[in-house]
């Protein structure tokens, strides 16, 4: 089966006052039909930059993107802007972390959803509004007739994020890109939104790329995981492989540093990853994680490890792969 989205050797650098910053370095991954792929990393890992690149949302004057992003065989990076506009929203939908800054505060939400439909489809206003109403029902908003006429400030954070999802789904996109969709929400509301996304996925069969720092969210939603660190993909695998047999020391540290609910101080201190996330301005020779890694040897400081497969779908970029015994 051909993947819906294929990213190959993606490289993104920004021109800044202090020179060119290479924030994504040679990242490759693919997303299959109806598959959910999570891109996981901490701040500065390049995960959000990767997501924005998929939609070509960076300022073209200040950004250099190389590599290839193929959507159903079409190269997006060289697509003329006019054609790209038909892809955005129509074939690839996107939701962001902070719904309040993504919604127009002066426009009723019904009109905003209908606008997305009108932009991409040859439909009448009345048809578009019917579609908007239908979407509000689908995303579980009570009293949708009334909500259609309300403005974003009249909605709660969770409801706004539902509206964002409705807008992204308005044109039945093949892929939904969700950049930290639940990070700004309370846990009980997060649970609602995750449930909604799972529900939509099974109903519409669209693929999802979810960008997050929260491994709990990943475990809830994703089929496959891409772990990023300092602009590089360090590990990739299925949910089961990443959670039960992590092979990169960073992934192992990341999993260890989140206490599970039953965990208390009597069980000893949490696993720490010493040091800090490196700044992209500091270009490391060798492995970018070497400075924080417990397994660093001389080779790590000299040669950047390449991604190697430890199983057919599980790849790791590390000179000292950890073999977790299967429990």
């Amino acid at each position: 089966m051909n993947p819906v989205l294929e990213v190959h050797d993606l490289d993104v650098s920004f021109d800044t006052s202090v020179g060119s910053l290479r924030v994504v370095r040679g990242v490759s991954f693919s997303v299959g039909a109806a598959e959910t792929v999570a891109i996981v990393g901490e701040s500065g890992s390049g995960k959000s930059v990767t997501a924005l690149s998929l939609m070509r949302l960076h300022d073209p004057d200040k950004t250099k993107i190389s590599g290839s992003i193929k959507f159903k065989g079409t190269e997006l990076l060289t697509l003329p802007e006019a054609r790209m506009r038909t892809v955005r929203g129509n074939e690839i939908g996107m939701i962001f972390q902070e719904p309040m800054s993504s919604l127009n505060p002066l426009m009723p939400i019904g009109d905003q959803i209908a606008e997305a439909v009108l932009l991409h489809h040859d439909k009448s206003r009345a048809e578009a509004r019917r579609r908007a109403l239908d979407l509000l029902v689908q995303i579980g908003i009570a009293d949708p007739q009334r909500r259609m006429r309300e403005y974003p400030h009249q909605l709660s954070g969770g409801m706004r994020q539902r509206v964002m999802i409705a807008m992204a789904m308005a044109c039945d996109p093949e892929i939904l890109i969700a950049d930290e969709p639940t990070t700004a929400l309370d846990v009980t509301v997060q649970a609602q939104i995750l449930g909604l996304m799972r529900d939509l996925k099974t109903r519409t069969g669209s693929s999802i790329v979810i960008i997050t720092h929260d491994l709990g969210v990943v475990a809830e939603l994703a089929d496959r995981v891409v772990i990023m660190y300092a602009g590089v993909k360090v590990e990739e695998g299925t949910i089961a492989e990443i959670f039960s047999q992590p092979a990169h020391p960073y992934t192992v540290g990341l999993l260890g540093s989140i206490p599970s609910l039953g965990c208390s101080r009597s069980g000893g201190p949490l696993t720490e990853i010493p040091g800090q996330v490196p700044s992209p301005s500091r270009v490391a020779v060798g492995c970018s994680f070497a400075a924080r890694c417990g397994l660093t040897s001389s080779i790590c400081l000299e040669i950047e490890p390449r991604l190697e497969n430890v199983s057919p779908r599980h790849g790791v970029a590390c000179h000292h792969k950890i073999r977790t015994p299967v429990a």
Binding site: E42, S43, A142, S156, G157, G158, M159, D186, V187, T188, V189, Q190, A191, Q192, L194, G195, H213, D214, L215, G216, V217, V218, A219, E220, F243, S244, G253, L254, L255, G256, S257, I258, P259, S260, L261, G262, C263, S264, R265, P269, L270, T271, E272, I273, P274, Q276, V277, R292
Partner: protein
């Protein structure tokens, strides 16, 4: 006041009147509405709840950063609410605070050494420049930073290091209680674990009490001895960590715990609450949680449940549901 309690909060209320609009009665936001608890020496009490539940206002009121509308705060045998500024200033060396955003809590124009020296000098902890410098160095080492950090500015540090500086500053006047208001929430996962471990080891070494305000149940579960769960300005359940996390009784606590995404393949049935937290301006009549409670019945709509002890005096729950029903549904 009980023997061992360092901090005792009694029926604390903090109401914010809203600007008058039109003719109706003036609206009041009841951010904290009749909250009582104690924190023993060397103990961590965590206040958990979602945004708008009043947990941060509670912390600020306890610290005397904002005067309470009613109720009392006792600290080490002293009544500290309503104290005049000079007295409050003197007693404040004993309770310090760490906020969520370290960059906003550190002066960008002061060197770290001066930031840490300020409380030492203000409270007269040590005398003389040499002694102050030596103590600043000790404080930096205590939080895992090099002594040389004292000559640098806050912007030269990363988020996690800045939070270490805030912890060092809070420790400077040798307090017995530190209020941590979402102190690790803004940090990256890998750095969060470092700071949590640091807080735990400092507590063990110095016998500190912590009032740990957070929405992150996994972190709370790791760090805390006792937990108080807040919803719309009131405490709905309070008790020892193991009891509250392993056998939660209030339907809200149960929903909150089940909503935490699991990473270790534990399977549990999730209780998904409908709707959002209602506005604290006009909290629902009766039990404040009844509009979202999967188990609400008629009585919940009219009568507000009071906290009562269940099983042990160390665990209080505010719910009309009979204990037997709660047990049955926990096990079922």
């Amino acid at each position: 006041m009980s023997e061992s309690a360092l901090l005792e909060v009694i029926s604390l209320k903090k109401h914010f009147p809203r600007p008058r609009t039109g003719f109706g009665p003036r609206e009041v936001v009841k951010a904290v509405d009749d909250v009582s608890f104690t924190v023993a020496r060397g103990e961590t009490l965590s206040i958990v709840g979602e945004s708008g539940c009043g947990k941060s206002t509670l912390g600020r009121t306890v610290l005397g950063l904002t005067p309470p509308s009613a109720g009392a705060v006792w600290f080490d045998g002293w009544r500290v609410d309503g104290l005049a500024k000079p007295q409050l200033r003197r007693i404040r060396r004993h309770f310090q605070v760490i906020f969520q955003d370290p960059m906003a809590s550190l002066s960008p124009r002061m060197r770290i050494g001066d930031i840490l020296a300020e409380p030492l000098i203000n409270f007269g902890i040590v005398e003389g420049r040499k002694a102050v410098d030596a103590r600043v160095g000790e404080l930096l080492e205590m939080v895992g930073l090099p002594r040389e950090a004292s000559t640098r500015f806050a912007h030269e540090f990363s988020g996690g290091q800045r939070q270490r500086i805030c912890i060092a500053r809070a420790l400077a006047p040798e307090p017995s209680l530190i209020v941590c208001d979402e102190a690790v929430s803004a940090l990256d996962v890998s750095v969060k674990a470092q700071i949590v471990n640091l807080l735990a080891s400092l507590q063990d070494r110095l016998g500190l009490s912590l009032l740990f305000i957070s929405h992150d149940l996994a972190i709370v579960g790791y760090l805390t001895h006792r937990i108080a769960v807040m919803y719309l300005g009131v405490v709905v359940e309070i008790g020892d960590r193991d009891l509250v996390l392993d056998r939660p009784m209030h339907p809200y606590t149960r929903a909150l715990i089940s909503a935490v995404p699991k990473t270790r393949g534990e399977t549990s049935r999730r209780i998904v609450l409908a709707g959002d937290v209602p506005s604290p301006i006009n909290p629902p009549m009766g039990c404040r949680f009844h509009t979202r409670c999967p188990k609400a019945f008629d009585r919940c709509k009219v009568e507000e449940p009071k906290l009562r002890s269940v099983g042990t005096p160390r665990r209080l729950v505010a719910c009309h549901l009979g204990i037997s029903e709660q047990h049955a549904s926990t096990e079922g």
